[in-house]
């Protein structure tokens, strides 16, 4: 009985790692807009299924899976470009700009998938067929490919954020007045941030569609919550860290989130209940720092804050 429980737990864990790695690309993408640029970008819910849709369409027209995956990244970047332009050039608030693009993308995604709500990839090669000759379990393959992709993407992203343009993107999100005073074209840096984020989100959508064996037009629903949950979990657990560590901790956050969700799904609940639990997990994670503070101040009287000078 106990042995059974542990085997079960082990399989849940390895499944969560595989799923979490694919979802972590979405989480790191949202991290770029939400934490680095300091905007909540709902384009996510459209660019995620767009990634899946483009990949499915390209695979169905017998293009190599790697091309189909890269195509998804470009599609996502294009979606980010649209949101970025709507936000910066037309001065529409970020939240609305995202909602507008997301809504428009629904129709585009439907067309990309040949006006069907979903597109099966039955009998087609996906990126996860690359290692067929090694006879790994499907879960191992997902972990290997997921890990390689995550390392590659984070490596690129980190190197990019250390360049002149990269620094100016961080500074734009940090202090827009200072950035403009130093000659940074903040419209450009914001648009670039949107593009990078949505490219990664579409990549996540592409990998997940290939792993599921189908692309689904409604797969974007709730993705923003999934991404935010991963970011918040990582911040609660690993506190403040330099950029590179933070990006990796978001990956861990995505895996932990998947693990918690997988445990919940072991309970006798319906498949569609998972979104409800996603929301609950996010609320718990978001309120955690507050609850922690309350508990601390109740358990012991906090010492009076020392008055500090301005310097």
């Amino acid at each position: 009985m106990i042995a059974n429980f542990f085997t079960n737990l082990f399989s849940i864990a390895s499944f969560s790692i595989a799923e979490g790695l694919m979802w972590s690309l979405l989480a790191v993408g949202i991290f770029v807009t939400y934490r680095i640029l300091d905007v909540a970008d709902l384009t996510t819910e459209g660019s995620f299924p767009l990634g899946g849709a483009i990949t499915a369409a390209l695979i169905m027209s017998d293009l190599p899976p790697i091309v189909a995956t890269i195509g998804a990244v470009f599609g996502g970047m294009l979606a980010g470009l649209v949101s970025g332009i709507i936000h910066t050039k037309l001065k529409i608030p970020a939240l609305l700009a995202g909602i507008i693009t997301m809504t428009g993308l629904y129709s585009i995604n439907s067309r990309v998938m040949g006006k069907k709500p979903n597109q099966a990839l039955l009998g087609k090669q996906t990126i996860f067929n690359f290692m067929d000759e090694f006879n790994f379990t499907s879960n191992t393959v997902v972990i290997i490919i997921g890990l390689v992709t995550v390392l590659l993407v984070i490596g690129l992203l980190y190197t990019f954020f250390r360049t002149e343009i990269g620094l100016s993107i961080i500074s734009t999100g940090d202090n827009i007045e200072m950035s403009q005073a130093n000659g940074i074209n903040t419209d450009f840096t914001k648009i670039l941030g949107y593009m990078i984020a949505n490219g990664m989100i579409a990549l996540s959508g592409s990998l997940i569609a290939q792993n599921n064996g189908y692309a689904d037009i409604s797969s974007g629903i709730g993705t923003i919550v999934i991404g935010l949950a991963a970011i918040i979990i990582s911040e609660v657990l690993f506190s403040k860290q330099p950029l590179l560590y933070r990006m990796f901790s978001v990956v861990l956050g995505a895996i932990i989130y998947r693990f918690i969700l997988a445990l919940i799904l072991e309970l006798p609940i319906e498949a569609n209940d998972n979104k409800f639990f996603s929301a609950v997990i996010l609320v718990v994670a978001l309120s955690f720092p507050l609850v922690q503070k309350k508990l601390q101040s109740n358990s012991k009287r906090q010492p009076k804050k020392r008055k500090g000078g301005v310097l």
């Binding site: 250390r162 002149e164 343009i165 100016s168 940090d174 950035s179 005073a181 130093n182 301005v310 310097l311």
Partner: protein, 266 residues
């Protein structure tokens, strides 16, 4: 002497056409000459900050024109003007990016007026230069290149902002009550540093202050604003002989209204 900045009949309204319409600047004409270090004083709502923001390009002005080295910059935004005009804000948190390190902030400032590319943000050979520059501030910051700005004090940040604003020589340096948010000791330190940098690099500067003593002590020219107009403009000898009571009397005479020391100071 060459004119750096020329402001011609600058008018600015906030909320024009609404019930809250506020005519803040009422026809400002001002020539800033090369090497001028101007301090601007005036009571609350006199238009000091609006004037400085108009020069920086923070908002489109209602009417009038602004020329920099003879070139019309009236329609340019902050980013376009930034290659020639740099700025230190009142709030020490405003001038730096808190999540970036000291050297990253300086590297961003080094690129003011140039295009940014895919080369490394902070270059190895820059570090030595940054260290030398930070050492001139005398705050021991030369050993904290990799410290996040957010961990530094207000005075340290303001000193770094001053360095960032002058690390690439600006045609015009704007100082927006940049020592007002600091404690008296730090404020003095930042002001002394400001004067040192301006005289060493022979910069042209435009400083808004509400400290009359500072206005008299620093700079070669003093301008007083009242209700959106320049009421006093004194330079060199005339300015050097001023005392605070003189200034108050002058204000009373020019504006035709009683004014307490406080309302001008604040």
């Amino acid at each position: 002497m060459k004119t750096i900045l020329s402001i011609k009949n600058l008018q600015h309204y906030f909320g024009k056409g609404t019930v809250d319409e506020n005519h803040v600047l009422k026809g400002i004409n001002l020539d800033i000459r090369e090497g001028d270090f101007i301090s601007i004083i005036g009571g609350n709502g006199a238009g000091k900050s609006t004037l400085l923001n108009s020069v920086a390009g923070s908002f489109p002005i209602t009417s009038g024109s602004i020329l920099l080295n003879g070139q019309d910059i009236t329609k340019q935004n902050v980013m376009k003007r930034s290659d020639k005009i740099s700025r230190v804000f009142q709030d020490p948190r405003m001038g730096t990016a808190v999540r970036l390190t000291v050297e990253e902030n300086l590297a961003i400032a080094m690129k003011r007026g140039q295009s940014r590319g895919f080369s490394k943000g902070v270059k190895k050979q820059q570090r030595k230069f940054f260290k030398e520059q930070l050492a001139t501030l005398g705050l021991g910051l030369e050993n904290r290149l990799q410290t996040e700005i957010g961990l530094l004090s207000g005075g340290q940040r303001q000193a770094i902002t001053l360095l960032m604003a002058t690390i690439v020589r600006p045609e015009l340096l704007l100082l927006d009550e940049h020592s007002a948010a600091l404690d008296p000791k730090t404020s003095l330190l930042v002001m002394e540093l400001t004067e040192k940098i301006i005289s060493e690099q022979n910069l042209t500067a435009f400083m808004v202050t509400h400290n009359m003593e500072d206005a008299i002590r620093y700079g070669n020219r003093l301008i007083m604003l009242h209700q959106g107009q320049i009421v006093v403009d004194l330079a060199n000898e005339e300015k050097n002989q001023l005392t605070v009571p003189d200034l108050l009397e002058l204000f009373h005479k020019k504006s035709g209204s009683q004014v307490s020391d406080d309302s001008l100071l604040l």
